[in-house]
Symmetry: C2
Subunit: 338 residues, 2 copies
């Protein structure tokens, strides 16, 4: 399929005409939930998740049979500023690791029956250093959005978007700062493990980036282009495509959530088809989720990216839907309902 946009204006226009969850399916799932053999609300958040998922899938009692994990990889001009504990060549090395099946996300995808694909985005051409120029020109940005859009399998029934990109907590922090305000220090963290000096440098780089692009900070899509990276833009494209296909999305960590937040700030409600899979050890992630009104499913101190926290949460959603769609009703089981 060709993506239904060939300009940034056309991409933005999609946001004003989004499909919604199916109200009939939501109502039918709510009614079914009330009849299942358990005390009211005894499955807690699993019940809310099942009803939410049923609404997006347009079925009263769906199951999760075809989850997809897609990982986007990109390289960053700002990595040359020394904002990561790892050298940039690790991005390409990890893409090979993904392709060979050796990374954490491979194991988690297999564990929860997800089909995993990898998209490496022009790794030999890092984005521009955003303290000097927009990270991407319009053509580069559109290519990345389109790669994300096209990477989504329309037959998937759940999507996790992950990423790999040495240095990419810095563009994610810059985006968060641009979208949600505050100081650079509020949004930078230790990423894969920088020291105090590295942390101060990240804040400095974010400050320079925002100062350089002060004119576009009120336009979230331009923020993504000027301060982001290809894998971030691709995640935004994939998350929007999933919305168009009514495929529920599990958000991963800090980078993924920054890419998603761009859509929400461009058009409120765009992330209604998304849940937060986990809250990362990267401290600013919790802050970003709070701004988005998303309560994470898991809090296990992960800070790997790759979609790992999102993939781990697939099991929670599968469990929720297995209960919702597989349990007997009080009438079916001959159990007294109190």
């Amino acid at each position: 399929m060709t993506a239904p946009f060939s300009s940034i204006a056309e991409f933005k226009a999609l946001l004003s005409n989004l499909p919604n969850a199916d109200k009939t399916a939501t109502a039918a799932a709510t009614e079914r939930n009330a009849q299942l053999t358990k005390p009211p609300a005894a499955l807690g958040r699993l019940e809310d998740l099942a009803i939410w998922y049923a609404g997006w899938r347009g079925e009263a009692a769906p199951v999760i049979a075809a989850p997809q994990v897609v990982i986007f990889a990109g390289n960053h001009g700002v990595a040359a500023r020394g904002v990561s504990a790892f050298p940039p060549e690790v991005t390409a090395q990890m893409v090979m690791n993904f392709q060979a099946g050796g990374a954490a996300i491979n194991q988690l995808s297999r564990c929860f029956g997800a089909n995993m694909t990898v998209e490496a985005l022009e790794l030999d051409r890092p984005t521009a250093d955003f303290t000097q120029a927009p990270a991407m020109d319009e053509a580069e940005f559109l290519r990345a959005l389109t790669t994300g859009w096209n990477a989504v399998d329309p037959a998937a029934d759940l999507l996790v978007t992950g990423e790999m990109g040495i240095g990419n907590t810095t563009p994610a922090a810059a985006i968060a700062n641009a979208l949600f305000g505050g100081n650079a220090e509020d949004w930078v963290g230790r990423g894969t493990g920088v020291d105090d000096a590295g942390l101060a440098l990240k804040a400095q780089v974010v400050r320079e980036g925002l100062a350089r692009h002060v004119d576009i900070l009120a336009d979230p899509i331009e923020v993504l282009r000027c301060l982001g990276g290809r894998e971030l833009a691709a995640m935004s494209g994939a998350i929007l495509r999933a919305r168009m296909q009514r495929i529920p999305v599990i958000l991963d960590g800090f980078i993924c959530t920054a890419a998603a937040a761009v859509l929400e700030r461009a058009q409120q409600g765009t992330l209604d088809h998304c849940v937060a899979g986990h809250v990362s050890a990267e401290a600013a992630h919790a802050k970003m989720l709070k701004h988005l009104g998303k309560e994470p499913l898991l809090s296990l101190g992960l800070r790997l990216g790759e979609g790992s926290g999102g993939a781990l949460a697939i099991g929670i959603l599968q469990g929720a839907l297995a209960c919702h769609s597989g349990m007997s009703t009080f009438a079916e089981a001959g159990v007294s309902d109190g």
Copy 2:
């Protein structure tokens, strides 16, 4: 197998000679973890879980291939005091639902590949009302412990113990109060949904129970016999058997944790092979976990019992071990380690 105890004294004696995790396997797993293709500690708690599990299984890189969920059902004399929102016949009805595959725990067990078994414990003979007499006499108590012991499959590599028993949050609260002190009000909750009057009644029943059995409150095993129930005793027996077989255990909610806590209070360290699968919406569960020093893996507002929260956490452990044992090392993958 015949259980290696035929008296309460023999059961207690087992606690003083417990097998431990294999230090060699723990060290080998720790070393392997440090070489995997991820920044140090980037998988957060999954790394600790994997190393812990490896130690108990005595292997540097195990996987979880044969999880077992066992559900024990019992009826309670105190149910006649009106401490539950559901009538006692629901215990037997739910056992039939478990056997027919219609309950939440059936779906969750299937979802995570666990073999599920059900043990109904003399449902037609409720325990004595503990405000009047010991819940179980010695012979009844030993039968329940033995049922639990024998229910564990020695070939399982992970165990979740669940329960069903109308009224059983009240004995669990009484046990917790006896083990950890405080007031009855600190330990009772709404269970499957009692109102304010029901809550006050539960506290009153717990107070009466502790007053009736004041002489044995310093002996945790006697607390289990006098204030507990058959499904609680069976869970204690199963959790101890798992320790003997070095089978790691995921604790479920309030009732399961009360049964486990008895072992820990009888002999500190007895629950070293256990993790807390989740923290229940039953408020006193968090308090009990804190006393036990167990940080729950999940917090999703479940309050169903049946092993449901424990079973949901199987996926987290499976994910942790899939990463630990399936990932490539930096050397294997040709990735620079920073």
